[in-house]
């Protein structure tokens, strides 16, 4: 453990795995969750509620298909109601996973290892929820294949100048790449579960998905190269996805949407909401499954800092929008923003500002960043605020455009609300199944950041000084800092 302390002194930080755990303890801690014979009653209760929500979603979609989009509150001029709001909301949540997995990986932020699996799973489930809405929003599911570049009407191809078509490619690519990234990360850990399996069915099923992984170092070499390249590909991808989503709005002529700040503003908001959702899910899981030594206060504190930073970026974007509305001198745009803050949807606007800009300010205080109750409450506020952000953008801009004669007030119907609630059922059902059947933390990666994983951490310091490991790997700080660069 002395090496551990040296490293700690060098970096002036708490280690990423605390409590004097060794490799086996990490395996045990993470795998035992999946291997439990009896699951806590709380899981069954949560699963029943979530499955109920999923059933509600199914029923609402069925009702929509049966009756048509008239069951929703969309009207003229607000033709984009809850469907697009929920789509953007869920896609946004799906951004933290790839951010944590890819961007923090490339920046060698090794604290990500305990939370990346969790966040990646969340990404995939959130994107599934998001994809439901474009699929159903015209109420004619038998035409969903029109989304794809096929000559659907009189041999006409879709128009590639439309951002809506770019969206299909962006979100489709994002889903595929996130799924691949998640699965590649899972392979070694599924192999661990396979090797610990006590029943035949587990051995066969986990064995199948482990693809015969045998920890071969020749495999690890290519695996690491592949993982790094995936991270490098996913990094611009994650930035592109929400940029393209924002093009759906920004390329239109509507005051309140037609703004060049939208791409970075949407990306910052997406990261913000995604991190909030990671915290919302992580805090209870960590407590219930006793993972405090793997997901330490340092991890949570870092996430709170990111919430604070991205919250202020979002706040900056809100104020710049107002500045440009005034400075740009376009009367329609000026009206759109005055209407946003003081018009009929002012309640939505101020809910958004309080939740997204004001509430994270508490994270300036260290005690708040280290108090899980405060964190949990703020993360819920941010989730609410970010939903309202999309509501405000979509509804307040559409409901009052150029001609006062065309104005109308938009109200969601009970079907809108129940569909939205049901999408949480879908999300939570998938999530609960994930923590039940798959290792929720990346064991192999966590082991790789422990001090014992490094060649210089030998039992005999004199001996290791004599070893030729290629020079660079011998300094603890350097090796830790650069991590998995092979």
């Amino acid at each position: 453990m002395s090496e551990n302390r040296d490293v700690q002194l060098e970096l002036g930080r708490t280690p990423l795995v605390i409590g004097g755990r060794d490799f086996h303890a990490v395996t045990e801690m993470v795998s035992s969750v999946v291997e439990r014979r009896k699951w806590p009653i709380g899981w069954y209760i949560a699963f029943t509620i979530s499955a109920g929500g999923l059933g509600l979603l199914g029923a609402m979609i069925g009702w929509l298909f049966y009756k048509g989009v008239g069951v929703w509150g969309v009207n003229n001029p607000v033709g984009w109601g809850y469907a697009i709001i929920n789509f953007v909301f869920w896609v946004g949540i799906g951004h933290a996973g790839t951010l944590i997995s890819a961007i923090l990986y490339l920046f060698r932020q090794r604290w990500r290892t305990s939370i990346n699996r969790f966040a990646e799973a969340m990404t995939i489930f959130a994107v599934i929820c998001a994809l439901v809405f474009p699929g159903i929003h015209v109420g004619r599911p038998w035409l969903a294949w029109w989304l794809f570049p096929l000559p659907y009407a009189q041999n006409m191809w879709p128009n590639f100048r439309s951002p809506l078509l770019w969206d299909v490619f962006a979100v489709g690519t994002y889903f595929t790449v996130s799924l691949l990234f998640w699965y590649v990360g899972l392979i070694p850990d599924i192999a661990t579960i396979r090797d610990r399996a006590t029943t035949k069915i587990r051995r066969v099923l986990y064995g199948f998905f482990a693809l015969g992984w045998r920890g071969s170092h020749r495999h690890w070499h290519r695996y690491e190269v592949a993982y790094m390249i995936l991270a490098a590909l996913a990094t611009p991808l994650v930035l592109s996805v929400h940029s393209v989503v924002s093009f759906d709005f920004a390329t239109s002529q509507l005051p309140g949407w037609h703004t060049t700040i939208f791409p970075p503003y949407f990306v910052a908001g997406a990261i913000f909401s995604g991190f909030a959702m990671v915290l919302t899910l992580m805090i209870p899981c960590r407590t219930i499954f006793g993972m405090q030594d793997l997901v330490t206060m340092r991890h949570l504190e870092n996430m709170c800092r990111i919430l604070l930073a991205t919250g202020m970026m979002v706040g900056y974007a809100y104020s710049i929008e107002f500045f440009i509305a005034w400075y740009g001198g376009n009367p329609y745009k000026r009206f759109a923003f005055i209407n946003r803050a003081f018009g009929p949807y002012a309640w939505g606007y101020w809910t958004m500002v309080s939740c997204n800009v004001l509430s994270p300010q508490i994270f300036w205080f260290r005690w708040a960043r280290r108090n899980i109750v405060v964190m949990f409450i703020i993360s819920i506020f941010v989730n609410i605020g970010m939903w309202f952000e999309r509501f405000v953008i979509v509804v307040s801009s559409l409901s009052r455009d150029f001609l006062p004669a065309a104005w109308a007030y938009y109200r969601p119907t009970w079907v809108d609300i129940a569909t939205f609630v049901g999408s949480f059922g879908l999300f939570m059902t998938l999530f609960l199944l994930f923590i039940r059947f798959l290792p929720m933390m990346a064991m192999a990666e966590i082991k790789g950041v422990m001090p014992e994983a490094h060649p210089h951490h030998g039992p005999d310091p004199a001996e290791r000084r004599g070893t030729d490991l290629g020079g660079a790997t011998l300094q603890p700080a350097g090796a830790l800092g650069r991590g998995r660069e092979q």
Binding site: H24, T27, P151, M156, P158, F160, R161, P163, L165, W166, A170, G172, T173, T176, V177, L180, F181, V184, P188, A191, T192, R196, F208, L211, G212, W213, R214, G215, S216, H217, R218, W220, H221, R222, Y223, E224, V225, A226, I229, L230, L233, P236, L237, V244, F247, A444, E445, K447, G448, E452, H454, P455, P459, R464, T467, L469, G470, T473, R484, Q486
Partner: protein
């Protein structure tokens, strides 16, 4: 040899190679360097996580995977460009807002996305193909101890197909590496 005996002989597991276990990263690396220097080629190290410095210790050459991925990415890029050009400028040209039938800027988002998509697919499937995975059956799995290769132990395996392999000498050599007893593997 009768037919029956012959069948028994083929059903019996064949000798695959040797396995030796280590309990920490340092001794594994030292041992790997010795195996490398002894000139073995058909051997491997098995670890629960990628060990820093092992590539050098084992003499692994950098993989060609990135080149293959570049090919995949360029295919995606070119494919996206061709697709958009064919669909919107050739097969059924649209007149929209008096814009040219075909202009690169409008095609960039889809070109970018398909480049990433094809590269990512090439990365994952290329990595699996180079690693010859999935391969559910392998000699190392015949060892009961090997289950800990995905938990907290480190192994070196030398296969009998290695040109330098000699049942006796290799066993003695491996025994001198500072690991556990040498175990025979079957396939």
């Amino acid at each position: 040899m009768s037919v029956a005996e012959n069948r028994v002989a083929t059903e019996q597991p064949s000798f695959f190679g040797y396995l030796v276990e280590f309990d920490n990263v340092d001794s594994l690396i030292h041992a790997a360097e010795k195996v490398r220097d002894a000139g073995y080629t058909n051997w491997d190290a098995h670890t629960p996580f990628p060990v820093h410095g092992m590539d050098r210790a084992m003499g692994i050459k950098y993989t060609k995977l990135p080149l293959v991925i570049l090919g995949g990415g360029l295919t995606g890029l070119g494919g996206a460009l061709l697709m958009q050009w064919w669909m919107n400028a050739v097969s059924y040209p649209y007149i929209i807002s008096g814009k040219p039938f075909w202009s690169i800027p409008a095609n960039i988002p889809v070109m970018f996305e398909l480049t990433v998509l094809f590269s990512a697919l090439t990365t994952v499937f290329g990595m699996l193909a180079f690693n010859k995975l999935p391969q559910w059956r392998h000699g190392v799995f015949s060892s009961a101890r090997f289950a800990r290769a995905t938990d907290d132990r480190f192994f070196i395996s030398v296969e009998a197909t290695d040109p330098k392999f000699d049942a006796k000498k290799t066993a003695e050599f491996l025994a001198g590496l500072g690991g556990s007893e040498v175990e025979s593997l079957e396939d």
